[in-house]
């Protein structure tokens, strides 16, 4: 597996002067294509900040973020926006679907942002929703879907651009264990079968076993970085 994402000496400081707060220091991390990496750590440890920096939402105060060998931290705001749009898929704890749109339309919004025409977007949205097992829920609004189904719609939306990396922030936190399990299996498929780099931020030790590697962040530093052994996965 080759490296897709790499951070080199990434540090980040929020604020200035006496009120400043150092959230990350000297983070060296790489995520391979087809790898599912679990980013764990206590609240306030800096894992969300790291995901935001990797996902080109935040520019690091120090160091570099490389995507396929190219430094994202050197890009301007518009370029970083395009990188987010085309190369990263984002999944959030609260799904953040439009409650007034159907599952199909929610996915079509992401395709619309890419400039895909309405008719092609509809077909693609149907395919994406079918790929996450929701082909029978295309025309339902989020309020008529279970939490797990909503998260799968959000995953389908994240896949709209066929991104090379998926970044998920606590994707199972609002789900019951069975739904959470299905969502994690879906992420694992997206990594292992489709060769995407999947980075999941989580507090939940029960879903750690779905990953290939677990990185523990504490006080803004990498405290532990280890592969998950085969016996831990079952």
């Amino acid at each position: 597996m080759s490296v897709l994402i790499e951070t080199r000496g990434v540090g980040h400081v929020f604020g200035k002067g006496e009120m400043s707060f150092r959230a990350l220091r000297e983070i060296d991390l790489s995520v391979n294509r087809g790898e599912m990496l679990m980013l764990m750590g206590p609240s306030g440890s800096g894992k969300t900040t790291l995901v935001q920096i990797i996902g080109a939402l935040l520019r690091p105060s120090e160091g570099a973020v490389l995507l396929d060998g190219q430094d994202l931290s050197q890009l301007n705001e518009t370029q970083r926006r395009k990188v987010r749009l085309a190369e990263f898929g984002f999944v959030f704890q609260e799904y953040n679907l439009f409650p007034t749109l159907t599952a199909q339309e929610n996915v079509m919004v992401a395709l619309d942002l890419l400039g895909v025409g309405r008719s092609k977007a509809r077909t693609t949205a149907n395919d994406l929703l079918a790929s996450v097992g929701l082909s029978d829920k295309l025309h339902l609004k989020p309020e008529l879907l279970s939490g797990g189904q909503r998260q799968r719609v959000a995953i389908a939306r994240a896949l709209a651009a066929d991104p090379r990396a998926l970044l998920a922030d606590e994707p199972t936190a609002a789900l019951d264990s069975e739904s959470g399990q299905r969502v994690m299996e879906l992420f694992r498929d997206l990594a292992h079968r489709q060769g995407r780099a999947v980075l999941i931020v989580t507090h939940d030790p029960r879903i750690q076993r779905y990953g290939d590697r677990v990185v523990r962040i504490e006080d803004g530093r990498i405290a532990d970085d280890r592969a998950i052994a085969a016996h831990e996965k079952h």
């Binding site: 969300t48 995901v51 987010r84 609260e94 007034t100 400039g115």
Partner: protein, 393 residues
């Protein structure tokens, strides 16, 4: 801007279709809020339409004598503010005017206040309009078919009134006899649709009879109406007239028309109150749209932040807000303008009938949409400042 090298696919521009869908669903999702928005705009359009329609009606009625007199130039006593409230003028100015090169005709015209005595003895104030039956200017217009102004005015004691004021003046048919300033008059003809701003009906009669009824001297007139020779140099004739007719106001017809309108509309405050009511309607509509649009935007902040986090441009969100504002404006305007046209139709025979020409309807549409767009500025500022990282917990 070129895509950065790391981006493998072409990132195009989003269309309007999906933003319109999002905008409409944002609106229709909450029918009560949508109804409140639409009612606010309908109210605004109604108020604007009726107030501006009345303003237009007032502008037309305050100068209706001038606008229909077919004179090029009006000579009045110095300082006359409005045609309906005249000041006596000597007939000799007419002869002076006739001697000015470029003047084809100069005719006398009387406008005077008087009291009409109804059959039951009650009195109504009227505006007497005296014109020579053979005059080419200042004749009553809009005569009801069947009688000409000249025929009606040649009837002994004959006067012409408008059908709209028959009830007000106690008239039931042609030939009815009444008194003006205690002198007998006979209704000899009707016009249709000559309204007055002051609600004192115009009563057309001959110059001689007008003088008798108003108890004025035999050389009394109120105005000299002038028609220019074809091809005459109007500014030069006007200047010559002003030089010769000292102590007179010599004005082109459009100028005295504007002076009359301005007097009633602005000196009396009637016009300003109409304009202020119209603006108030606009303000109320704008505030309602701004408030509901902002509430709707706040409801969707998580989704908008997600779009920003996903790499959507701010312009995409601005577009949603703009479409919402535009749709609210269009729906509210469509309902509002139908109501305004309905009211205009219902009031067509009222003593004050608002006018709504197509150009005014288009102007109101423009102002309504502009107000809605201005009202969306607060929401647009909000979506412009959305922090895409806020979607991460």
């Amino acid at each position: 801007m070129q895509n950065p090298d790391v981006v493998r696919r072409r990132v195009g521009s989003a269309g309007w279709g999906m933003t319109a869908t999002i905008a409409w669903r944002n609106m229709s999702h909450d029918p009560i809020r949508l109804a409140a928005t639409i009612i606010g705009i309908v109210f605004s359009v109604l108020l604007m339409g009726m107030q501006m329609g009345l303003l237009l009606y007032f502008i037309h009625t305050t100068a209706t004598l001038v606008d229909h007199a077919r004179a090029d130039i009006w000579v009045a006593a110095n300082g006359v503010n409005t045609v309906d409230l005249s000041t006596p003028l000597s007939q000799r100015w007419r002869y002076h005017a006739m001697a000015v090169p470029g003047v084809q005709k100069a005719e006398s015209y009387i406008v005077d206040l008087a009291f009409w005595k109804r059959g039951n003895g009650t009195r109504e104030s009227v505006i007497l309009v005296g014109v020579d039956p053979d005059a080419t200017m200042g004749q009553p217009w809009a005569m009801v078919p069947g009688t000409t102004a000249a025929d009606a005015l040649s009837v002994p004691d004959g006067v012409i009134i408008d059908r709209m004021y028959m009830e007000k003046l106690g008239v039931s048919k042609l030939g009815d006899m009444f008194e003006i300033n205690d002198r007998r008059v006979r209704v000899a003809g009707f016009t249709q649709g000559i309204r007055t701003f002051t609600q004192s009906p115009y009563v057309f009669t001959t110059l001689t009879r007008a003088r008798e009824l108003a108890r004025r001297a035999q050389d009394h007139i109120a105005y000299v109406l002038i028609r220019l020779e074809p091809g005459a140099d109007a500014p030069k004739v006007l200047a010559d007239l002003r030089e010769r007719l000292i102590d007179c106001d010599v004005l082109m017809a459009p100028d005295i028309s504007a002076r009359s309108s301005n007097y009633w509309l602005f000196s009396t405050g009637a016009g300003m109150s109409l304009i202020m009511s119209g603006l108030l309607g606009l303000l109320v509509g704008g505030v309602v749209v701004a408030q509901t649009l902002y509430a709707s935007t706040m409801d969707r902040l998580p989704q908008y932040s997600t779009i920003r986090a996903m790499g959507g441009p701010t312009s995409y969100l601005v577009r949603i807000v703009l479409v919402q504002a535009g749709l609210s404006g269009l729906i509210g305007y469509a309902i509002g303008i139908v109501c305004v046209y309905g009211l205009v139709f219902a009031l067509r025979d009222a003593s004050a009938a608002p006018e709504l020409p197509f150009r005014l309807a288009i102007f109101i549409a423009f102002v309504t949409l502009l107000t809605c767009l201005i009202a969306s500025i607060v929401s647009m500022t909000k979506v412009n400042r959305i922090d895409p990282t806020r979607v991460f917990r």
